[in-house]
């Protein structure tokens, strides 16, 4: 029997003498429900089935966005759509354009920025204009996981917030709970969907698709558990900010050169 890992509730079943089938089942079930050794074995198989054994304890992912580098080309949005088969009209990542003056501001994101941005004349004279890429912030203290009534939303040990489509009942509480508008109920599966940081890529040593295609490196992805990781270094030494820090959600998507107008 495998050792139970740290933090996993261990339940011990006393080995009983041969008994009628019902009792044996009862003990086995009790072990399973306690998250015991049977479950550990079954679960370990699930991750061990991968070719190069991804170890989720060896990573803690973080995302870094430099808003000064973003040119609003929408490559990231198109890449995300293609990579993840995101339904039309819904976005796991999108780009917003801010046009700001001391008196007024105007924000637009036509079709998530997927097909670029039109030249727009605002009613006021903007003194600055810039693009802000948005995606799930993969918060450490995330409200979306807290409100899920069926345990479909969860945070992995490497720091990604994921949705178990098999358990999700599509109630939409998480969609309302997310202060960043990162989630939607898919019209295809009728379950909650969101950015996974391309979990199918990062577990194979690749970067999320949006980071992969960003032509100006406005989007970066890194591992906080690697001392020399450029993203870790930038977060450790640079002046970074997060969206809506007053909500104490501890986002893991960090922003460089974030303007006060951005929420």
């Amino acid at each position: 029997m495998e050792e139970t890992r740290k933090g996993t509730p261990a339940s011990e079943a006393t080995p009983a003498a041969p008994e009628p089938c019902g009792r044996r089942e009862f003990i086995a079930d009790a072990v399973r429900i306690g998250g015991g050794a049977f479950a550990i074995l079954a679960g370990a198989d699930a991750l061990g089935a991968e070719p190069d054994k991804y170890d989720w304890d060896a990573h803690r992912w973080a995302y870094l966005i430099d808003t000064q580098k973003c040119i609003g080309c929408g490559s990231c949005v198109r890449a995300c759509k293609a990579e993840n088969g995101v339904p039309d009209g819904y976005f796991r990542t999108w780009v917003e354009r801010y046009q700001v003056s001391p008196e007024a501001s105007h924000v637009d994101s036509p079709n998530g920025g997927m097909h670029g941005f039109p030249a727009v004349k605002t009613a006021f004279e903007p003194t600055k204009a810039f693009f802000v890429p948005k995606l799930c912030n993969h918060c450490k203290e995330t409200p979306c996981v807290q409100v899920c009534p069926v345990g479909a939303s969860y945070r992995t040990r490497d720091g990604a917030i994921l949705v178990d489509g098999e358990r999700c009942i599509g109630c939409g509480y998480c969609v309302q709970a997310c202060p960043y508008g990162s989630r939607f109920i898919s019209p295809v599966t009728h379950t909650a969907e969101k950015c996974t940081w391309c979990y199918h890529r990062i577990t194979k040593g690749m970067k999320p698709a949006c980071v992969e295609v960003c032509p100006t490196s406005a989007r970066q992805f890194g591992d906080m558990k690697r001392e020399d990781d450029p993203v870790r270094l930038a977060i450790a030494h640079g002046r970074v900010n997060v969206l809506q820090p007053h909500l104490l959600t501890e986002p893991q998507a960090y922003y460089l050169n974030l303007d006060k107008e951005v929420r």
């Binding site: 998250g35 890529r201 100006t216």
Partner: protein, 154 residues
């Protein structure tokens, strides 16, 4: 003694209830639920294997198209990944075999995604007001009639 039988019955009913709940739960709650928190741990592996990665990165493209890759590296688009302008590699190659022609959109709109002059882009970034770019307007001409997309500087 008669009271003792009542107590025994109540205990029996309670025991049956407990068994029903425990056995029922084991059917209703997935196997790997609760191992690392209140979620189904098997889903982590399911998500990791949800689909094969579609974008494979510029280095994968260079495996077959080294010439293009080198030309790109010398030009001002050196930092632009192939899959920004071309389609994702996964639509072109599957398991090492070419399954479809690589799609590319040669339209002005495609170049415009990055280079059309609009509010919001950083000032230093090269931007083009298409209507004023060439004398008499672009007409039917596309960007690629004059510019090589792999090394666009003239």
């Amino acid at each position: 003694m008669e009271h003792a039988r009542h107590v025994f019955r109540v205990l029996l009913v309670l025991l049956v209830l407990v068994i029903v709940v425990v056995v029922g739960r084991s059917f209703l709650i997935p196997r790997s639920f609760g191992m690392y928190g209140s979620y189904r741990f098997d889903n982590v592996a399911e998500q990791a294997n949800a689909r094969p990665p579609l974008h494979r990165g510029a280095r994968s493209c260079a495996d077959c198209h080294d010439d293009r890759s080198q030309a790109l590296a010398k030009g001002s688009h050196a930092r632009v990944s192939c899959e920004v302008c071309h389609a994702p590699l996964g639509t072109h190659v599957k398991d090492g075999d070419v399954v479809a022609k690589m799609a590319v959109d040669p339209s002005v709109r495609m170049c415009g995604y990055c280079h059309q002059k609009i509010e919001g882009r950083p000032d230093k970034f090269p931007q083009v007001a298409f209507e004023q770019h060439v004398e008499g307007g672009l007409g039917d001409r596309g960007c690629l009639d004059c510019h090589d997309p792999h090394s666009p500087k003239l």
